[in-house]
């Protein structure tokens, strides 16, 4: 059994289970009442006698009855479900999810998760959510174009998380990317850095703003001539590639602003392998403060986004829009700030 066909063994035989899930009618007939009454009792509406109520509840429990959400949806015309699209290997999205669940539950909504993966693009992921009649869409790190987003938004309230869309007709929640990046640049400049490079995140969420903020901040410090953006992505691989690129050049920058933490990890990895000390020779700053950045010897200096608040506000936006049918699209901008850890330091002495 090296690496060929997996072994399979029979381990007993499962019950010839009935596999029939009980319906409301089952509960009703068991209790000797009408289905309507069961429905009332189960939803806590008034109108049933105390005795009967208790009996119905007991029987429902005994039978293991669970309301069928599909039927509920159909009957009441709404699903009470929020659809959340995430990129399953963006640790920051994971942090967001953790904040989204409790807030949704608090407000009485279900959460439907749909992940993009290599091979499962946004359209598919969102399509799945729509098919299940989510009442609102929360898109984490969408890279869809404006037209596409408008289309979603026309059908169902849509909240864009982690990205801003100029003049769009949909809600968005994101951090003040500009501020975080500016802080990072200010800090590096203060340490004495001038040759500060930025690895960007292509079309991924927040990238545009971070790129622009980087340029602006550099200019404010009169460092126009040192502005340099290396095209990248929000992945470790992109960081590695950027590292290789830099290693192949004559002259390393003294500091790098990565597109996000993952990219920073990859970069540090390849720099270290290339014999370059971080932060001795090159300082590295990440973005997100995903929980990995605190750990391992990485100890990454990064720009913190408050996932809890972002997630919470995203849910609230969606729900408010749903329940108050507000007409104005809203942009929630949360604060972001630099967290200084161990991957940054004064620039090396230039040779």
């Amino acid at each position: 059994m090296t690496n060929g066909v997996p072994s399979q063994r029979e381990v007993g035989s499962s019950s010839p289970a009935p596999r029939n899930r009980p319906t409301m009618d089952d509960v009703a007939s068991q209790a000797g009442v009408s289905r309507t009454l069961v429905s009332l009792v189960l939803r806590g509406k008034p109108g049933a006698g105390a005795e009967t109520s208790k009996r119905i509840l007991r029987i429902a429990d005994e039978l293991g009855y669970r309301p069928d959400s599909a039927a509920q949806l159909l009957a009441r015309g709404r699903s009470r479900a929020l659809g959340v699209m995430m990129n399953v290997d963006q640790p920051f999205h994971v942090d967001l999810i953790k904040a989204i669940y409790p807030e949704a539950e608090r407000l009485g909504y279900d959460v439907l998760l749909s992940a993009t993966t290599p091979g499962r693009d946004e359209r598919k992921a969102v399509g799945a959510l729509l098919d299940h009649r989510c009442e609102a869409l929360i898109l984490l790190g969408s890279s869809a174009d404006a037209a596409q987003l408008e289309r979603y938004s026309a059908g169902v309230p849509t909240v864009l998380v982690g990205r801003r869309l100029a003049g769009a007709m949909l809600d968005s929640v994101h951090t003040a990317e500009g501020k975080g990046v500016r802080q990072a640049v200010d800090y590096l400049v203060e340490l004495g850095h001038r040759r500060i490079v930025h690895i960007d995140g292509d079309r991924e969420s927040g990238s545009v703003d971070r790129r622009r903020a980087y340029r602006t901040a550099m200019r404010r410090h009169k460092l126009d001539e040192f502005i340099r953006v290396i095209p990248g992505h929000h992945t470790e691989d992109a960081g590695i590639d950027a590292g290789q690129l830099l290693l192949g050049e004559d002259d390393l920058p003294t500091a790098v602003l990565a597109g996000n933490d993952r990219c920073a990890f990859g970069l540090i990895h390849s720099l270290s392998r290339g014999g370059v000390d971080v932060p001795g020779q090159v300082s590295v700053v990440g973005y997100d403060d995903s929980h990995l950045s605190h750990l391992s010897q990485l100890d990454l200096t990064t720009v913190r986004q408050d996932a809890d608040r972002i997630g919470t506000y995203a849910v609230r936006s969606a729900v408010e829009r749903l329940e108050q049918g507000g007409l104005d699209s809203r942009e929630v901008v949360l604060d972001s700030k630099l967290v200084v850890r161990g991957t940054t330091g004064p620039p090396r002495a230039e040779h």
Copy 2:
């Protein structure tokens, strides 16, 4: 706008959108045919004329019609959806998800994701899946007890991933934990290690087997007296705690077998901070080979589980059970093997 109330600005006004999603009836009346026919055409069943077919398809497209999966489920009595429970911050689960989606799609099934988080336990997560009438359950890293699992399994085919349940009446897919651990121990012993400690994963998936395999392997090498299991979890924090514990003792072991990669990261982190060199003074082995282990200077020696194959087999198990109604519960055991990288080396010379 430091860290107080987030700024909110109005950014325009959304369309007073109709927000009415088109139904089959809409398509039917537009096309001047019956709903039945629309249903047939949209599902590619024969029985409609070529012209009419084309027209219906065109109109459905123009209207942006999407079948309502709730109604479909109700009507045809099955959801064609697999429910997957995952722990959102277990990177290994993420790898599994990536394999599950395509295989499910290939077999014509939807995937419903439900995450456990701190504050959202397994019951809740599985409950949500059941409410949506998933036809089968795929549980990644469940730590539910046997009784609970039996209960799930009685209602709907259930596949347990990453864990084995002795004599249970449900399918399971996992790696040969024993083999991986044995390889790791063999390797360490071969390098000359004797004081090999194991940090376990409490009740988390695979832990029991790994713990037992560790003990067995140690005994086979006549290292009974060095057997030591430190209670832990599959998290970085547990690794950090274990590291602190070890640092506080007189005598460090020469090698540690962590419960999984995350735990290994935490351990390495705290050892490094404590001035202990890895692998110079202590060798560390992880478990999972989650994609992080290749990266950063960690370069973790670990036991590889083939996420692709595990995910694929999990889906196949569920679907086969669903479609062939097989009666025997089956256990799929996949191979696992040690991947040697940079966190292991010969033991330090004992003082």
